[in-house]
């Protein structure tokens, strides 16, 4: 048997013999060249991470800028922090006359918020709509999540364990709901709600969000429940439990991580939702997203205030992303992909 001729001129990996290779690696990955590529790679990754961070960080900074600083030309990186934006966002103010300004400036008992307002010659007359809208966001997102996860886990269990007639079609149908442009569904629902008096109500929005998030929660939860071996419930039923009891005592506790992850994802989607909120609410039930772009002050767009609103709105999401990082892949693909 003739051997493939080896390369007699093969050069040993440069730099290798002097290197103490105390970790698991291939011979060719020890060379100076390989180390160099690794460093370059690290630098690129850091640059990209920075690019990802900068816009968000810039916006967070703007939230703490004074009004002139926010629109300074050229843009200011170093500035004196101020809470003007937050005051602007959260309160309604009126202009003070010149005499009032002098009078207020002489006072020493002003609350800190009033002091900030005074800087621009204003005084606070009450809260703005924003706190109420944030609260609406919280309520609507929260309650709709409870329902969509609640109903979702039941449906997911049924689909997971039983041969429901037309199961694959039903599941695909459920998934396809997510593919519709929101505007397609809003038009008829707008009409329906107007007829029934659900336009601009908390209940109407909760109903809509629940229905819309069901597709997501059913798919995600089914994936989680599929991973729980049926043998657990079967063992329980052999021991005398009914199926419902087995579901309650065994499946649900085992699915806790899955339910938690689904709850959080659903919360985030509802929290972030804009299109439906824009078209189906106007005043009473309006949530935060439609109003953030519209925070107007006396001089036009109040960037500091908008930034403050945006910041307040996205801090919970950032925190939660961090907590959920192990489940992110699963969440955004509706449970289709499970890593690891």
């Amino acid at each position: 048997m003739t051997a493939v001729p080896s390369n007699p001129n093969a050069v040993p990996t440069p730099g290798a013999p002097n290197v103490n290779v105390n970790f698991s690696t291939r011979v060719d990955k020890v060379s100076r060249g390989a180390r160099w590529t690794r460093n370059v790679r690290a630098v690129i990754i850091i640059i990209i991470a920075l690019i990802m961070l900068i816009p968000t960080v810039w916006m967070a900074m703007t939230a703490f800028k004074s009004r002139p600083d926010a629109v300074a030309v050229p843009p200011k990186v170093f500035f004196e922090p101020s809470l003007e934006g937050f005051v602007s966002l959260l309160t309604n103010r009126r202009q003070l006359t010149a005499t009032e300004i002098a009078e207020y400036q002489a006072r020493t008992d002003l609350a800190w918020a009033d002091q900030i307002a005074l800087v621009r010659g204003q005084t606070i007359i009450g809260p703005s709509d924003f706190p109420r809208q944030l609260l609406n966001s919280l309520i609507i997102a929260g309650v709709s999540t409870i329902f969509s996860v609640g109903f979702g886990v039941l449906a997911a269990y049924a689909f997971s364990r039983f041969p429901v007639p037309g199961k694959d079609d039903l599941l695909f149908f459920i998934l396809s709901q997510r593919m519709l442009p929101p505007v397609v569904v809003t038009i008829p629902i707008f009409l329906m709600y107007r007829q029934v008096g659900l336009y601009d109500t908390h209940f109407g929005m909760i109903l809509l969000y629940t229905a819309f998030n069901l597709s997501f929660s059913v798919w995600l939860l089914k994936g989680f429940i599929d991973e729980i071996p049926r043998e657990y419930e079967e063992a329980a039923m052999v021991d005398g439990y009914t199926r419902l009891q087995a579901f309650r005592k065994i499946v649900l506790p085992q699915a806790t991580t899955g339910i938690a992850a689904t709850t959080v994802f659903t919360l985030i989607f509802s929290w972030n939702e804009y299109a439906f909120a824009l078209m189906l609410t106007s005043d009473v039930a309006r949530t935060a997203p439609p109003s953030i772009p519209l925070v107007l002050g006396t001089g036009g767009i109040e960037w500091a205030a908008i930034a403050a609103g945006s910041l307040a709105f996205l801090i919970p999401v950032v925190i939660v992303t961090f907590l959920l990082r192990k489940h992110l892949l699963r969440g955004v693909t509706f449970g289709a992909i499970r890593k690891g």
């Binding site: 048997m1 003739t2 493939v4 080896s6 040993p12 290779v21 291939r26 011979v27």
Partner: protein, 367 residues
């Protein structure tokens, strides 16, 4: 064909040795097996030979050429992985052709060599299928074909039969050995299964805890284990090992037994043993001969019928059980007394502290 020399090859992770300095010369055309329990360093050694793992010290020579820092592809070796490493999106044919295509071999030659190798391994009818559709045994054959098609100087195999079902393992074992005989290429094979090692190898390198315990032919390591580890590890079941006290030409064994030692052995034992008389006696199950007039006695603890023979468990005293191989016609009741002898040429002795085998007295026949 190649000879491989490992000179002071070692692998450290920080301060921990994965492989302590190892010296070995593998001859041309030899089938050498690295045997040992998980984590003993055998796979690491194999990977260092292939270049998939870098050494921390030492040199690897292939045909007297220093390949220590050469890229794996420059070493003229082929590697067979435990989990086959077949590309699931390519057909069997494409998998086998892969190394030739990577080396830009002309297409006609590729076709011819693939056909030749497929015929040798009897997988020519499977060439168009995807690996996922084939059994484990067939998949491993394709992996072997891919290694063979390169005609390398040496074959390195990392527990290739580990992922196969028991029925395939036996037949593949024979096939690999057969292939080796036909082609005659140097083969370095890693396994934790001592039955495999004994059946296939020309020489076995037994490793444990990063250290080579013994290098020898299957017969050598079976009959003359270098230390307690080898004695226990080789053979199923392993060698019977009993602690005894050596005194005045005889060894006191558990169960009130007295085993007289031949004069030749006495001199060696006097020379090698520590003064306190502790010694370990070893003998294989087939060295035990049941004899109603035997000097040693025990009682039957269990009787395993293995079809062609019986494996008796004899209890000398509580907690001390030895294995004895007997013909299948032998049936003993549990608890019955059993007297036996040990074939003198098959007895071995071990130092109780160093665990090394006491060297055989000069002139004794080793069976």
């Amino acid at each position: 064909m190649a000879n491989i020399d490992l000179v002071n090859v070692e692998k450290k992770f920080g301060d921990v040795f994965a492989v302590k300095p190892l010296n070995l010369s593998i001859k041309e055309g030899e089938f050498i097996v690295f045997l040992g329990p998980s984590g003993c360093g055998k796979t690491t050694t194999l990977r260092m030979i292939s270049g998939l793992e870098a050494v921390t010290d030492g040199n690897i020579l292939l045909n007297q050429r220093d390949v220590t820092w050469l890229h794996p592809s420059e070493r003229d070796i082929a590697f067979v992985f435990q989990f086959f490493a077949l590309y699931s999106h390519m057909s069997a044919r494409e998998n086998i052709a892969f190394p030739l295509q990577a080396a830009q071999t002309p297409r006609d030659e590729v076709k011819q060599r693939v056909a030749q190798v497929a015929k040798m391994l009897r997988i020519d009818h499977l060439l168009e299928r995807k690996p996922g559709a084939l059994s484990g045994g067939d998949q491993q054959r394709i992996a072997l074909a891919r290694a063979l098609v390169r005609r390398p100087a040496a074959f390195l195999m990392d527990e290739p039969l580990g992922a196969l079902d028991a029925e395939y393992r036996e037949s593949m074992r024979a096939e690999i050995k057969r292939l080796h005989l036909d082609i005659g290429a140097t083969t370095v094979y890693v396994t934790h299964d001592q039955v495999e090692a004994m059946a296939m190898s020309d020489r076995i390198v037994i490793m444990s805890a990063a250290v080579v315990q013994q290098v020898g032919t299957p017969t050598e390591v079976y009959n003359n284990p270098a230390n307690l580890f080898v004695a226990r590890f080789i053979g199923s079941p392993g060698m019977n090992l009993l602690k005894g006290t050596y005194q005045a030409g005889a060894i006191h064994l558990p169960g009130d037994n007295r085993y007289p030692v031949s004069p030749a052995w006495q001199r060696t034992l006097d020379h090698h043993l520590p003064g306190n008389g502790a010694v370990i006696v070893g003998f294989r199950p087939e060295a035990v001969q049941l004899n109603p007039e035997g000097e040693l006695n025990a009682s039957v603890y269990a009787d395993d019928l293995h079809g062609g023979y019986s494996m008796l468990h004899l209890e000398l005293t509580k907690g001390e059980v030895i294995h004895a191989r007997a013909g299948r016609e032998v049936h003993m009741n549990i608890g019955a007394p059993a007297r036996f002898e040990i074939v003198p040429e098959r007895v071995r002795f071990f130092h109780p502290e160093t665990e090394l085998a006491i060297p055989l007295p000069e002139g004794s026949a080793t069976r």
